[in-house]
Each structure stands twice: as structure tokens, then as C-alpha cells.
Assembly symmetry: C2
Homo-oligomer: 397 residues x 2
């Protein structure tokens, strides 16, 4: 059964750069919107980085399915062009540093006055109000200021960042959520809205466990590596496997019994040192030795299969080579292989916003820089070839 | 100016538990939906854990503004009640282990056949298709299987988890995005949809940088702690402060010049060892010593202020005590203090989905277990007190 995509008919101007804004644009495109990626004539930061580095992969991933045009917003005619395009669009999104759009006369007030149905979405490090509103924020610094680093790492080591750009992507999907909420509301009111996403705001809810433990104990617990944050559950750790590592957690009494069965040692469930969660937490080192002695003799994928078959929550610590080849993700259509002229065979992902019985879309590759400028300006603004040429000559596009 | 909230009029049955589903319900409630939290008569996992542990904080945060009812879905009359409620609802969301709802005769097929306008949203570790569809997944194991752990930690240490429950919350906001997209589509088609969110899917896009570097180099780079993942930018690290740590990154040439000025040593920008990004990356240890020598004599908040004033991307590594008292977050209305009967003064957050000129909502506290059962069943299903009493006697609620 084929069902139309949820956002068909929606026109988006995506002025996003690097990860945060472009991830939002990627999700909008995969949900059926027509997404027009608007870049400076030199290309956005990530496209420029992509020219000679490994950054061409994230660029390809995040911009698949978008039409690519160039507009120089620093040029008065370029800014005027954005105003004209925003009159024809449903959504404009950007993640420039605070105040950039207003500096060129195309801030949200102006564009929304021109087009009251416009949904203007922006995402910044700290949001559009409060004392840090003009401060710069990027993934690693937001990991610092949000408290994330303070709880990541080992007890004897420094605070650490999570390796993935989690703040950028968390903000990008929140931007998507805010924009689609505003589109839904527009169905009733006929009016757009300004969506104001702060990376710092987005990082607070995921900190809830740690903050709860702070309010409960009146202080901050030491970092615990891969163990339970309050050291009150075991097994709960990353264990050695013969070919890497595996994560295993038992958060209910039955999980421990099932793990003992999976390990072929059902009697351990009745060992007085391990009978209840409290007992196991008190004897955490002994528990970890026991589990580790079983896991270290087996391959991580084998442990995954055996423990899951016994109803135990577990997973291998996958390397990047494992991740891109994950058979489940490929079966499910979440990943697909594509030949890239520069990189060879690469695995790209489809949207995580999946609908039952809707085939996940495999989008066209991202266009070349400015590849669709003439077509888009023609279709949306009725500009002919000579009009486009004049803009090009003046440096506006 | 007060504007109505975007999802006013939408009725949600939130069968979520712990973080993932409840975070989605929290966002829906804050966006104006009427969210009815449906729990087993003993309370959902997090409410049960909250009874005597630090988990009462996340429970309070994630369930603020929801009406609380109990339904025993394992009891035939309880399952029937869910069917009746789902006929009156716009959205049902759940994050049980795979197949739970279907096991009790209230899977998405049944409920959507009863009410074709229903948006049924579910979130699981691995999604509803593919070979792992029945596997159990929780935050830490999804951090393992997604590759996140493989890139978190120090070069000489083990793979590590990020300290916050990032997979749970990332999936929760994706669930929100999918549900609101389906509501938007329903405005056109009159039909609901089944939203199928996989925690594993949601973790792939944030891995894009690391995966790009894998495809580019043909292998996995060693973990780099807080340094640049490919060791190709400096300064890019977490540095010691007199009272903790601070994160500073320079990703453009001007950032370095501005940092040298902030440090009162503008001549360093012309030092041949540090002139270009390439030079600095090649002399990374020397760069880190220089920056660390300046930061270690100053307090982290002072460094934050000085460097940001000079246009440098930076932030203090905040402790949890810092995070809950963040003046910016409180000014912006993202955090607010509330007196809690059990915990005393706690800082709770409002939704990260913010709209310009809309005051962030400060919701009522989460209700007691089943507190609103009678009222909700009366309003939605016209049940009177004796009907409710009969259900209670039978163990269905």
C-alpha cells in the first residue's frame, strides 16, 4: 500500500548549515516537503569542508533530496530575493549565529510581516532570549554547559564529551517538531509562528536522571563509566567479549534469573550474594567478574543472540564497520547502500520518522552548489533566464 | 500577547513508561494537547521506582500537566476500556516491549480499525520490522549497538556511554515529530497513521561525522577523549579552570586570533607554530599547554564571559548544581523553581519547543496514581460512579 507522505505540498527554504538546521531540513524533505537548500555562493560551511575531507559523507546524508540554490544574503538584492522567496514559502529555517538574518534586513519580524502564514524556525545555542542569547554555541560546548560532560567518563578521569554530535541532532529534531506543530496550528488559525529552539534547552530533559539524583542526595555523584549512575543495579556494565565488548543490564529480578540461564549457570540466581538487586549491587565487583568471565570467551554477536533469546537486555558495542553493515537496519530499510562518485559504496539512512506500511523514501543525491537556482527562481518567482543572469552578474546569487 | 497553543483540542492517551514515551507525552501536553496518562493499577515502572528513590524527580518532570488514570490492560475489561478510550482519542502512544499491546488484543491494527482517525505512535528499541524487531533495547544498550560507545572515551580507555539517557529522549522527540506529522496529514486525508519509531534508527544520523571519517579513511579512528575526532582542529578540547573545566574550540582562523586576544597574547596568532589550523593541529600538544596555562588561573564562568565577548565558541563544564541554577535558563523561562512535598525546592523545565511571544507553560504537577480515573471515564465514556466502581471491583482499573 502506498500512502502519500505527510508534508506533501509544503515548501521549505532551508538556510541550515552543518548539522542542526540541515537535519531538520532532511526530515522535512523525507516527510514529503519540497525543501530548497539556500546557500551562500561559496557553499555552506559543511559543503566547503566537504571539498577535501571526510565531511562529504555527512553533507551527502543530510542534504539528500533537497534542491540547491545559492543566494548571497549579504548583498541587498540577495536579501530582497530571500524576502520574495519567503512570500511563496510555508517554512523558512536557519541556524545562523544569533541576529544574522536581522542584520541583513530579513529577520523573522520582517519575513512574517510580509507573509503572515510563514513558519519561521530557528535554532541557536542558547535561544532568542535570556542573557546568553548572543553567545555562540556548538555541539561540544553545549555538552559542557548542559552538564552532560559532568556525568560522562570514568571516576578517575576527566569529564568527557559523548562522541556523537548529540546536541546538534537533538536540536534539529526539536526544530522539526516545533515547525510541524506550527504548521498544524496554521490549519486552524491561518497564521504562522516563530519557532525558537535552543540547543541548551533540548539537553535539559535527557539530564533528568542525574538531576534527580542531585536533588535526592544534595550533591553530584562521581562519574561511573559504564556502570549504573547511582551504582544501584548489577549487572549493568559493558563487558569484554572475545572480539570487543557487549553491554548487558538487568533492571528487574527476572532479568538476572534469565541471564543466569543464558550463561548456563541457573544456580547463581540462588546464590545469597546475588539473590536481590540490593545484594547484587552490594557485590557489584563479583557480579561483573562472573558475567565478564562468561562474555570474554564468546563473540559479541553470539552473546547478543543468546542473551536476547533469554529475554535479557543486551547489545554488542558495535564498531562503525558493524554499524554501516547492520543487517537489521538494511532489512528494515533504515539504511541503504549507494555508490558515491567520490567515496565509493556508502551506507545512507532514511528518516527515523517511519510510518507503518509506508516505504521509507530513498531520496536523490544532494544537488551541486546552486544547481537548481535557475529552476527554483523561475518556478517560484517567475524569473526568466535573463533575470537570473542579471542576479548572477550582480553577485546576488 | 497570548497565543493559543498549537495542539489545543487534541486528546492523547499516553501509555508511555520511564523516559521515551513519557517525554513525547510531556511535549504534547506542553503544546496544548489533553494528555491522559494511562498506567497499570500498580503504576508505571518509573512511578514505582519513584516511591523511594531519586527517580521521583524525572517522574515529576516528565508527567507534569498530565491527567492520571489506571487501566489494567491484562484484564479483558481493561483492554476493552482502552478500545473505548481509543475511539474517543486522537493519539495513542506507547513504548512497551514489542507486541505487548497486540498480546492483549489492543494492537494498532485493532485500534485503528475501530477509529480510522487515530494516530497510533509507538517507540521500541529496534522498530516494528527487521530481524531484531522483538529484541529488547534500553538506552545503554542502544548506545552500544548504535556505535555511540565506540567513539566515546579516551584512546587508552574502554568504550564509554554518554552519561545522559540520550537514546530515550532522542526517540521520544522523534515520536513527537512523527505523531504531529500524522496529525497534520490527517487534516487533509481524514485518516490517522501508525508511527513506528526505533531508538536505533534515531541514533544513526548523529553518528554522521564518525561514519564519514570511517568511509573516508577505510577504518575507525582511535577514541580521542575531548579532542577533535580526527585530531585536525586545535584548540579543540576541555581545559582545566581554577574551579573545574571549560570547553573551547576554534573552528575558523578568526576564532584563534580572537582567542589570542582574549588571552592577552595577540602575538601568538603570528607564531609560525600556530598560524593556520594545519599548523595548530600539528602542534596540538603545545596549543593545549598554552591555552591550559591561561585557563587554569581563571574561574570557568569568567573564562566563558571573556572568550564569548571575543567571539570564541566556549562554555564552562557545568556541574549539576550549576545546571539547575543556570541564570539564563531561568530568565528565559526554560527552568522554574517549584516546591515539591518530597524533594523540597526543585528546578523543573518547560518544553524546548518554544514559540516567540508565547509564554512557556508551567504545568500542574503530575497527578497521583489513578487520581483522574473517575473524571476521565465519566467525561470520555459517560461512565457514572457505579460503572467506575464496578470496573474497580473487577480489577479492570
Amino acid at each position: 500500500m502506498t500512502v502519500a507522505k505527510p508534508l506533501e505540498g509544503v515548501i521549505v527554504l532551508d538556510l541550515g548549515q552543518v548539522y542542526n538546521g540541515p537535519y531538520c531540513g532532511f526530515l522535512l524533505a523525507q516527510a514529503g516537503a519540497r525543501v530548497i537548500k539556500v546557500e551562500a555562493p561559496g557553499g555552506e560551511t559543511l559543503r566547503r569542508r566537504a571539498l577535501d575531507t571526510s565531511q562529504c559523507y555527512p553533507f551527502a546524508l543530510l542534504n539528500a533530496g533537497k534542491e540547491c540554490i545559492t543566494v548571497n544574503i549579504k548583498h541587498p538584492d540577495g536579501a530582497k530575493l530571500i524576502r520574495s522567496l519567503a512570500r511563496e514559502a510555508d517554512v523558512l529555517l536557519e541556524n545562523f549565529s544569533p541576529g544574522t538574518m536581522a542584520q541583513y534586513g530579513i529577520g523573522s519580524e520582517t519575513l512574517c510581516a510580509d507573509n503572515p502564514r510563514l513558519v519561521y524556525g530557528c535554532s541557536t545555542g542558547f535561544g532568542n532570549s535570556g542573557r546568553y542569547r548572543d553567545y555562540l554555541g556548538m555541539d561540544i560546548t553545549v555538552q559542557a554547559v548542559s552538564g552532560m560532560m559532568s556525568i560522562t567518563g570514568e571516576g578517575h578521569g576527566p569529564p568527557l564529551k559523548a562522541g556523537a554530535a548529540i546536541c546538534d541532532f537533538l536540536a534539529g529534531i526539536h526544530l522539526y517538531g516545533g515547525i510541524v506543530s506550527a504548521l498544524y496550528q496554521r490549519e486552524r488559525t491561518g497564521r504562522g509562528a516563530v519557532v525558537d529552539i535552543s540547543m541548551q534547552d533540548c539537553m535539559f530533559p535527557p539530564m533528568a536522571t542525574a538531576i534527580g539524583s542531585y536533588f535526592f542526595t544534595g550533591g553530584q555523584l562521581p562519574r561511573t563509566g559504564n556502570r549504573h549512575p547511582a551504582l544501584s543495579a548489577a549487572p549493568y556494565n559493558v563487558y569484554p567479549a572475545s572480539d570487543g565488548h557487549v553491554a548487558i543490564i538487568c533492571i528487574r529480578e527476572e532479568h538476572w534469573r534469565q541471564l543466569c540461564e543464558a550463561m548456563g549457570e541457573p544456580h547463581l540466581a540462588n546464590d545469597p550474594r546475588f539473590r536481590t538487586m540490593k545484594d547484587r549491587a552490594a557485590n557489584m565487583d563479583a557480579v561483573d567478574v562472573l558475567v565478564g568471565d562468561w562474555t570474554r570467551l564468546r563473540a559479541k554477536e553470539e552473546i547478543f543472540e543468546i542473551t536476547q533469546r533469554h529475554g535479557v537486555i543486551s547489545a554488542p558495542v558495535r564498531s562503525l564497520a558493524d554499524v554501516v553493515a547492520d543487517p537489521h537496519m538494511h532489512e528494515r530499510g533504515s539504511l541503504y547502500w549507494q555508490e558515491d562518485p567520490a567515496m565509493g559504496d556508502i551506507a545512507l539512512c532514511t528518516t527515523p520518522l517511519r510510518f507503518r506500511e509506508v516505504e521509507p523514501p530513498r531520496p536523490e543525491s544532494a544537488g551541486g552548489l546552486g544547481e537548481d537556482t535557475g529552476k527554483v527562481l523561475g518556478e517560484l518567482l517567475d524569473l526568466d533566464a535573463s533575470g537570473v543572469a542579471a542576479l548572477r552578474d550582480s553577485g546576488a546569487i
